[in-house]
C-alpha cells in the first residue's frame, strides 16, 4: 500500500509547491530600501528648472514618490489612480520623471493632466539607480522623516493604495503628535 501511496503523495506535494510558485511574480524584487532613509537626491524641477526637488525640500510630511516617464505605457494606465490619490488630499504625490525628455514629459502632462505637487527630473537615471528602480512605473511611500516605508513595482491600483498605502499613512499620522 505504501509503495503506491508514498510516490503519489510526494508527487502531489511537489505539484502543490509548483502550483503555488506559479502565483509568484518573479519580476517583483523586494526592495532593500524599506525602513531605510530614502537615497539622497537633489534634482531640478520639471516646470521650474531653477527650483530643486531634494530630500530637504520634501522633508516634514509624508509623500508618495511616483516614478514615471512619458515613454512608459503602464504609467498612462495608472495615471487616473495617481490623480485620484493626489485629489484625495491624503498625501503629497511627487513625480520622479525617470530617463525621459523634459519636452516629452511636459507634453504628456499637458495631455493627461498633472497630479504632482513637485516633479524631480532624473534624466540620466542616476537617482533611479539609487532608489533601485528597474522599470517604470514604481511608487514609493516616504514618511515625514524621509524613511522609505513601502514600494510598489508596476502599475498601481486603487486596491494597492487602500491596502498598503492608506493604512501606513494613518499609522504615520497617528505616530506624529
Amino acid at each position: 500500500m505504501w509503495r503506491f501511496l508514498l510516490p503519489l503523495g510526494m508527487a502531489a506535494a511537489l505539484g502543490v509547491l509548483l502550483f503555488a510558485g506559479l502565483g509568484i511574480d518573479p519580476k517583483l524584487i523586494p526592495s532593500p530600501l524599506i525602513d531605510k532613509p530614502a537615497p539622497v537626491f537633489d534634482l531640478p524641477e520639471l516646470n521650474q528648472p531653477e527650483a530643486r526637488v531634494s530630500n530637504g525640500t520634501l522633508a516634514g510630511a509624508p509623500y508618495v514618490l511616483n516614478v514615471w516617464a512619458s515613454w512608459c505605457p503602464s504609467c498612462r494606465d495608472e495615471h487616473p489612480v495617481i490623480e485620484d490619490l493626489a485629489r484625495s488630499g491624503k498625501v503629497r504625490v511627487v513625480g520622479l520623471n525617470w530617463k525621459d525628455e523634459p519636452v516629452d514629459a511636459k507634453r504628456w502632462l499637458a495631455q493627461f493632466g498633472n497630479p504632482y505637487t513637485d516633479i524631480a527630473v532624473d534624466q540620466s537615471g542616476r537617482t533611479g539607480i539609487d532608489f533601485g528602480v528597474y522599470g517604470a512605473p514604481e511608487t514609493f511611500l516616504v514618511d515625514a522623516k524621509g524613511v522609505v516605508r513601502f514600494k510598489h513595482v508596476g502599475t498601481i491600483t486603487h486596491e494597492v493604495i487602500a491596502r498598503e498605502i492608506e493604512p501606513r499613512l494613518a499609522q504615520m499620522q497617528g505616530a506624529a503628535p
Binding site: 532593500p32 530617463k99 540620466s124 537615471g125 539607480i129 539609487d130 532608489f131 528597474y134 522599470g135
Partner: protein, 141 residues
C-alpha cells in the same frame, strides 16, 4: 572548410563582445576586471541575463555606473555592495549564504539526499527479496 571554421569562430566571438559599450579603459587589466564583474551581476529588467549581455537601457546605465565606481577606485566587493544596497541580493548571480538563501543553497542537495535514500532503500529491499543462494553464487571466488 577553413573559411567556414573562421566564420564560425568569428560569430562565436561576436557573442562575447555583444553588449559591451565603448568605455575608455586605461588598460586590459581594468577591462578584464570590468567584464568579469558585470558578468557576475544580474540585469534586473531581463532577469535571466547578466549585466554584460543585456541590452536593456537600465543594464547600460548600470554598466556605466559600475565603470564609474571602478574609476573612483572602489573594489569589486564595494561595487557589489553598492548595487546590493539598491537592488538587493537579487543582483548577484552568486548570492551569499544566509538564512534567507538556505533553501536556494541547500534545497537541491536535500532533494538529492531524499531521492538517494529512496534508491538505496529500494535496492536493499530487492537484494533481500532475492533467494539467498542466488545472491551467494556471485560472491564465490
Amino acid at each position: 572548410m577553413k573559411r567556414a571554421l573562421l566564420l564560425i569562430g568569428l560569430l562565436l566571438l561576436s557573442c562575447i563582445a555583444s553588449a559591451i559599450d565603448p568605455l575608455a579603459f586605461k588598460d586590459d587589466v581594468e577591462r578584464v576586471r570590468f567584464q568579469k564583474l558585470v558578468a557576475e551581476l544580474r540585469c534586473t529588467v531581463c532577469q535571466n541575463q547578466n549585466l554584460a549581455d543585456s541590452n536593456a537601457e537600465l543594464a547600460k546605465d548600470l554598466r556605466l555606473k559600475v565603470f564609474e565606481l571602478m574609476q573612483e577606485g572602489r573594489s569589486d566587493a564595494q561595487i557589489k555592495e553598492f548595487l546590493v544596497a539598491r537592488y538587493g541580493d537579487f543582483v548577484l548571480y552568486n548570492p551569499p549564504v544566509k538564512p534567507q538563501t538556505w533553501v536556494l543553497w541547500f534545497g537541491p542537495g536535500l532533494v538529492v539526499l531524499i531521492g538517494a535514500s529512496f534508491v538505496v532503500a529500494s535496492i536493499r529491499r530487492r537484494a533481500r527479496a532475492l533467494p539467498a543462494d542466488a545472491a551467494g553464487i556471485e560472491d564465490q571466488p
